[in-house]
C-alpha cells in the first residue's frame, strides 16, 4: 500500500490510474469518527495509491476530488478536469448556485 504525502501528487496519480483503466478503478474512502481519521484509496487492483489524514482542511480537498471522480466516472475518462468549478459549463454552475442561495 503506497501512502502519498502530497495531496496534489495523490490527485494526479489517482486520475492517472483511472484514465489507464477506467473500468476496474475504484475510489474508496474510509472515515472513522472515533479516531478522527480519514483514508482515501484509489486502485485498479494492480496499482494502489492511498492518502491518510486527520486534518479537517483535507475534507474540503477530498470533496473536490469527489467531484472530479463523479465527473470522470459518469461522463468518461476523456473528460477535461476543471479542478474547482467542475465539468459543467459556467452557466449551469451559476444557476445551481442561484438555486442554493434562494433556498
Amino acid at each position: 500500500m503506497v501512502y502519498i504525502d502530497s495531496w496534489d501528487d495523490f490527485v494526479e496519480r489517482s486520475v492517472q490510474i483511472f484514465r489507464d483503466d477506467p473500468h476496474s478503478t475504484r475510489y474508496v474512502m474510509k472515515y472513522r469518527h472515533c479516531d478522527g481519521k480519514l483514508v482515501l484509496k484509489v486502485t485498479d487492483n494492480r496499482v494502489c495509491v492511498k492518502y491518510k489524514t486527520d486534518q479537517a482542511q483535507d475534507v474540503k480537498k477530498m470533496e473536490k476530488l469527489n467531484n472530479i471522480f463523479f465527473g470522470l466516472m459518469v461522463r468518461g475518462p476523456d473528460v477535461d478536469i476543471a479542478e474547482v468549478t467542475g465539468k459543467e459549463p459556467a452557466e449551469q454552475q451559476v444557476s445551481k448556485k442561484g438555486r442554493g442561495r434562494r433556498q
Binding site: R32, G36, A56
Partner: protein
C-alpha cells in the same frame, strides 16, 4: 447489498455516520459501472452499441451495505447533497491553527503546510 435510489441512499448514509460516532468506520466506494454483466457488455461492444456508464456508489459500516447507481442526469444533484452529508458529519478531524506560522512546534502541520502554504514561509 441493498440497491437504493440516490435520495434514500443519502438518508441511509446519514444514519450510518450517526451510528458510527462512538465506534466503527464508514467506507464509501465509487466505481464506474455500466450495470451490465460482462457477457452483455462484450456483446454490446461488438455490436457497436453505445454503453451508458453510471457511477456506482457503495457505502458500508461493516454491518450493513447500501448502494446506489448514478447516471449523468442525477450525479450533480447527488454530488451536492453528498458533499453536505460529509461536511455535516466529518467534524472529528483536527482543525488547523493559522497562528502556527509562528509556532512551528507542532509537527503534524508539516504535510498540511506543504500543500497549502506555498508562498508563505514556514517560520
Amino acid at each position: 447489498m441493498v440497491l437504493l435510489q440516490p435520495d434514500p441512499f443519502l438518508n441511509e448514509l446519514t444514519n450510518m455516520y450517526e451510528r458510527t460516532k462512538e465506534k466503527g468506520s464508514v467506507w464509501v466506494t465509487f466505481k464506474r459501472s455500466s450495470m451490465k454483466s460482462k457477457a452483455k457488455r462484450k456483446r454490446m461492444e461488438s455490436a457497436g452499441e453505445v454503453i451508458e456508464y453510471r457511477c456506482l456508489v457503495r457505502a458500508t459500516d461493516s454491518k450493513k451495505t447500501i448502494s446506489t447507481s448514478l447516471s449523468a442526469k442525477d450525479y450533480l444533484r447527488f454530488q451536492a447533497s453528498y458533499a453536505t452529508v460529509l461536511k455535516a458529519h466529518m467534524n472529528a478531524l483536527k482543525k488547523r491553527e493559522r497562528k502556527d506560522k509562528k509556532k512551528s512546534a507542532e509537527g503534524e502541520k508539516k504535510p498540511a503546510d506543504q500543500s497549502k502554504l506555498v508562498s508563505k514561509p514556514n517560520a
